[in-house]
């Protein structure tokens, strides 16, 4: 126990290194004062999968928006106020009864930050990155997304500048709901699952897992 308290009180080597790096960047004028704190705050409270969920809900509720989203992803997403780094070139791919899309970055961890936030650790893990292109049907099943054998799987490896977002199928029985009620955060919950839902986490669903 006393050792645990000791660890909490002390500053770890990585924290020291980060602090030194930040101090140097600030001192040399490479980042303005408070910049790192501001970016951290933004990614903790404003930028995350709730943004992607808004895009999807709008597309489910508004057929014209859905058309624009599939044709010109970046511009349609910007209509809702989302854009910027790692979201400058967005392509939205649509799941149907016959086609399931899933996103991976085999080379590193490219991810559509403005609509989904920062990538979860499992998305960056080599086994996910290798197996999603090698045996996507088996990996999706292990992750809880069981697809009928006749559903085509399209894997998208974001190896250049485009970042992808999956537009999931609208869950049955949600036609009467308005946009706020119909975000995938709720419709992805077990009580209103789609049968294609693998994870309660919105972000995971919006990259196709």
């Amino acid at each position: 126990m006393s050792e645990g308290r000791h660890h909490q009180a002390s500053v770890s080597p990585v924290e020291q290194r980060v602090a030194a790096l930040e101090a140097l960047l600030t001192e040399r004028g490479l980042v303005p004062e408070g910049f790192v704190e501001e970016i951290t705050r933004r990614y903790e409270s404003e930028i995350g999968p709730m943004n992607g969920a808004k895009v999807v809900a709008r597309a489910w509720a508004d057929p014209k928006y859905r058309e624009r989203l599939l044709a010109e992803g970046t511009a349609a997403i910007a209509e809702l106020g989302f854009g910027g780094a790692e979201g400058d070139h967005m392509v939205v791919v649509e799941n149907t009864a016959a086609v399931h899309n899933v996103i991976v970055c085999t080379l590193c961890s490219c991810y559509p930050w403005p609509v989904l936030g920062l990538p979860p650790a499992w998305y960056k893990d080599p086994p996910y990155r290798a197996r999603m292109v090698r045996e996507p049907r088996a990996l999706l099943a292990e992750m809880g997304c069981q697809l009928p054998g006749d559903v085509e799987i399209r894997v998208w490896d974001s190896s250049a500048e485009v970042r992808y977002l999956v537009l999931p199928q609208r869950p049955p029985g949600t036609d009467g709901l308005d946009v706020a009620e119909d975000e995938p955060s709720r419709s992805g919950s077990p009580s209103r699952g789609t049968g294609r839902r693998s994870s309660p986490k919105m972000g995971a669903r919006l990259i196709g897992t």
Binding site: V91, T106, L107, R134, E135, I153, S159, E161
Partner: protein
């Protein structure tokens, strides 16, 4: 269209698993700085990028039918 079978000594963003493989361009994207050049100095070269579709059966010996993998590639990664 086929991905060049090359193994550059430095940085590249051409995934190894598609090198030498045949695919079909499904989307033409913008023109971007080639990472292979950018990673090694101040020089820049800009090329179009494409989303190229590969059937799993053409990538892996036991690749399943009904599975395709799309990889985004710079122009100079491709031949023919």
């Amino acid at each position: 269209m086929r991905v060049r079978e090359w193994h550059p000594p430095g940085h590249t963003r051409c995934p190894g698993y598609v090198r030498g493989k045949a695919g079909v361009v499904v989307r033409v994207d913008g023109t971007y700085s080639v990472p292979d050049v950018e990673a090694h100095g101040s020089a820049r070269r800009y090329e179009p990028t494409y989303s190229v579709r590969f059937d799993a059966a053409g990538l892996w010996r036991d690749g399943q039918r009904g599975v395709s993998v799309h990889v985004d590639l710079w122009d100079s990664y491709l031949e023919g």
